[in-house]
């Protein structure tokens, strides 16, 4: 199946600082999804990117899909304590029936 590397594994920031997590693949991806999991919670779907070079925004969150469709990033502007959690990227198989998750980036925000 598809393999994705997600970096960094951990990120500690002060409230108000920006945060970015990256997802990289050695193969071209058909699509990529991003999820957020709060401590002790379940993953919650954030967004899906499909097109080369696509950029989508959700309030302070900006998602990008690389031009070669081999990488993606999630950027949070001016982090808040509510942003705490683990952010996962996930990529779909060609058939569309399976989703492979990255190892996640655990974000902590110091108030």
């Amino acid at each position: 199946g598809q393999q994705v590397m997600q970096i960094p594994q951990y990120q500690h920031v002060q409230e108000g600082e920006d945060f970015t997590t990256y997802c990289n693949s050695s193969t071209t991806l058909s699509n990529i999804q991003w999820y957020k999991q709060r401590p002790g919670g379940h993953p919650v779907f954030l967004i899906q990117l499909v097109k080369s070079g696509e950029v989508k925004k959700q309030k302070r969150l900006t998602f990008q899909f690389g031009e070669a469709k081999k990488n993606s990033s999630l950027h949070i502007t001016a982090t808040q304590t509510t942003d705490v959690g683990t952010y996962f990227c996930a990529v779909g198989e060609t058939s569309g029936s399976r989703l492979t998750f990255g190892e996640g980036t655990q974000l902590t925000v110091n108030p």
């Binding site: 699509n31 919670g41 379940h42 779909g92 399976r98 989703l99």
Partner: protein
């Protein structure tokens, strides 16, 4: 709508015991999935189903079995529990395949400890 409902939420098993994790969704979703998540790790796909009567293996199927007799239910069976199966198990569902931009909904998880 309740969404995706998993039971039990917590369970302690002894080595060699068997149990079934229940999963039900009331959204008429065709696709259902079982993932496991070890501490500090990502999610690994155990089994998935694209519709009633159809199941297929994921990345880590050994030690597990599934069935999909109805659209709503997708139970996960552990036949001979081993300590390596200590994990959090998530059931998930989506209406269409994962290419369609559809949201995948996760249950709240089942924490399983094998001692």
């Amino acid at each position: 709508n309740a969404g995706v409902t998993q039971t039990p939420k917590f369970r302690i098993l002894k080595i060699g015991q068997s149990m079934t994790l229940q999963c039900a969704q009331d959204m008429n979703h065709n696709y259902m999935y079982w993932y496991r998540q070890d501490p500090g790790m990502g999610l690994k796909l155990i089994y998935y189903s694209v519709g009633a009567g159809i199941t297929d293996k994921g990345e880590v199927p050994n030690g597990y079995n599934v069935s999909r007799s109805t659209t709503e239910d997708f139970p996960l069976r552990l036949e001979l529990a081993a300590p390596s199966q200590t994990s959090v198990y998530f059931c998930a569902s989506s209406y269409l395949g994962l290419f369609s931009g559809n949201t995948i909904y996760f249950g709240e998880g089942s924490w399983l400890t094998v001692v």
